[in-house]
């Protein structure tokens, strides 16, 4: 695990909303199954005193922190209020925050992430599915049934594509240490570099699957920063320029960030790149054969 474990208490902001309520239920079902603490407190301004699936709801993060030992926060609040929610958690001293919310304006994200960084807090997302360390903790919305515990770390800018890859890995008997969805926005808190640094310090993680897509060049920056063996896959080889491919950050602009040149640069630094998701398990096996 790299951002939390069984002992981590989780706080959910936007606890009384439809999404928040639904996923508190799923996260706590998972925690119960593996013997973790799960979600211990919820926050929705004006709804203090309520309960969601037996979890007490507070008006502010500070109040929740007074009553509970909390080391991770998850944000389901709507885009217009999400940056404020990130800053509230960072200010209260929560060290790791997952921002699920999509459509946060980029300028809000830049401010909230700069502020959180100043407070010594790591932000995963926004516009992400969160993370899951099988057998340890689920912080977000990933479907736990597809996962199995093991030694492969997965980092991805996508949600469902990650589930596809995790499903392939599990079916092939390859377990995961932690799977992190870092988010599909152009500005995200934890990038490939940050998560790879954590994987580098994590004794459980022996290899990493890095799932990227068109837009920017952070996949390459990440791959260069680590000594861990990596298999990569880049989505969007058929994406036309100047079109946003579903994610705000998935866009080839100014001739930059297209999949072909990304793949070429990754291969140049020795990273094997799968041409489709179903090739990944075999490539991971090859990686273990060559490196371990």
């Amino acid at each position: 695990m790299i951002y939390g474990n069984k002992k981590s208490g989780v706080l959910v902001q936007g606890a009384t909303g439809k999404q928040g309520e639904f996923h508190i239920g799923l996260m706590n079902a998972y925690a119960k199954q593996i013997g973790g603490r799960g979600v211990v407190a919820g926050v929705t301004p004006g709804k203090g005193g309520k309960e969601v699936h037996g979890v007490p709801v507070y008006n502010t993060v500070k109040e929740a922190m007074r009553d509970h030992d909390i080391s991770a926060g998850i944000i389901f609040v709507p885009a217009a209020a999400a940056a404020d929610a990130i800053m509230e958690e960072a200010h209260a001293g929560i060290p790791a925050i997952v921002a699920i919310t999509e459509h946060i304006p980029v300028h809000d994200s830049m401010k909230a992430i700069a502020y959180a960084t100043m407070e010594g807090c790591s932000v995963i997302g926004p516009n992400c599915p969160g993370l899951l360390s099988p057998g340890e903790i689920k912080m977000g919305i990933m479907p736990a049934g597809l996962f199995s515990r093991g030694k492969v770390g997965v980092i991805s800018r996508s949600g469902t594509l990650t589930y596809e890859v995790v499903d392939e890995l599990t079916r092939a008997g390859i377990g995961q240490s932690t799977v992190v969805g870092i988010g599909g926005d152009p500005v995200i808190g934890q990038t490939f570099v940050d998560v790879l640094e954590r994987f580098g310090n994590d004794p459980q993680t022996k290899a990493v699957v890095l799932i990227g897509e068109v837009g920017g060049n952070l996949e390459e920056e990440g791959a260069k920063s680590t000594d861990l063996p990596i298999v990569s896959y880049i989505a969007g080889i058929s994406a036309p320029p100047d079109k946003r491919m579903g994610h705000a950050g998935a866009i080839v602009e100014g001739g930059e960030g297209d999949a072909r040149s990304k793949i070429a640069r990754l291969k140049k630094i020795g990273v094997p790149v799968a041409s489709r998701p179903s090739e990944i398990p075999q490539m991971v096996r090859d990686l273990f054969r060559d490196h371990c």
Partner: protein, 361 residues
Amino acid sequence: MKLREYEAKKLIREYGIPVPAGFLIRSVHELPAHLNELGDNIVLKAQVDVGGRGKAGGILMADTKNAVATAQVLFEKEIKGLPVREILAEQRLDILHEYYLSVTVDRSSRRPLILFTEAGGVDIEITAREHPEEIRKVIANPLMRDIPPFMIRELVGTAPKEIGPIINKLYRVFVEKDALLAEINPLVTTPQGVYAADAKLIVDDNALGRQGFTVNRDLTEREREAEKHGFSYVELQGAIGVIGNGAGLTMSTLDLIGFYGGKAANFLDVGGGAESERVMHAVRLVGSLPSVKVIVVNLLGGITKCDEVAKGIIAADIPQKVIVRLAGTNEAEGRAMLAEKGYEMLDTMDLVVKKAVEVAA
């Protein structure tokens, strides 16, 4: 959303950045009334939503005598397939030197990035490739309202000092107008002072509402229809329609079509939640593109209810063949419902895509 030049110039002028005297005209008849304010030398610039406008003949030089005739010529042109409905008529500047200035979002530092170069007047991408040392870069702090003076000095270097305040003003525009890009290319010096000869602003699509825009002009009609339902939609050149949940999975499905030798016609990401009605709208929208011969539906997610998806596909009732890959809860029910109506359901994305490529061929 990309603003047109006249909109961008109006905005930056409000922040105190000098722009040439100019007027927007929608027909030649509006031009004569403004001619005495534009001086002898005039430039006519088509306001079309495409890049590379100058090279495509969208900018014409004129003088007081031939301005109306030249504007008539420009109105009758098509620039990269688009009709010219608006022209910005401007005073032509007496340019001494051209600079490049922009503020963008830097993904790596997650902060605003300011670029300035004295080697202006050419394509910035070419300068970046061939003479990267000529581009001065500064990364700003998004928690500060202004750029500190030392950063401005670093950027300006030996260029005229009057450029300093313009940099900070453009930074304010970038921040306060929710821009993803604020660019002045070229920024020019003239005997009368410094001017923004051209201006480009791209506003964050996720901030259009709070910036007072009601529609995103960058979207086609079908894309706008998709947006209403909360879908992401992109049109391409092939014959296979693609529906997926999640941007990454949908993109990957598109790529797999290419891998098996086919071509996708469009891309639709239904996003979160695949209730039957959303799925119905998605299938109908993708099927409404005339070039679509067959549709691949690739939906995955532990919480996607397959029976809901099946209901939506059946309700859409479109003439094209729909091939489905579903993984989630109630899989058996969904499969049975689809099978009863004669739809094909396959287990993996490789299989559905292969099948669709065969059908389209």
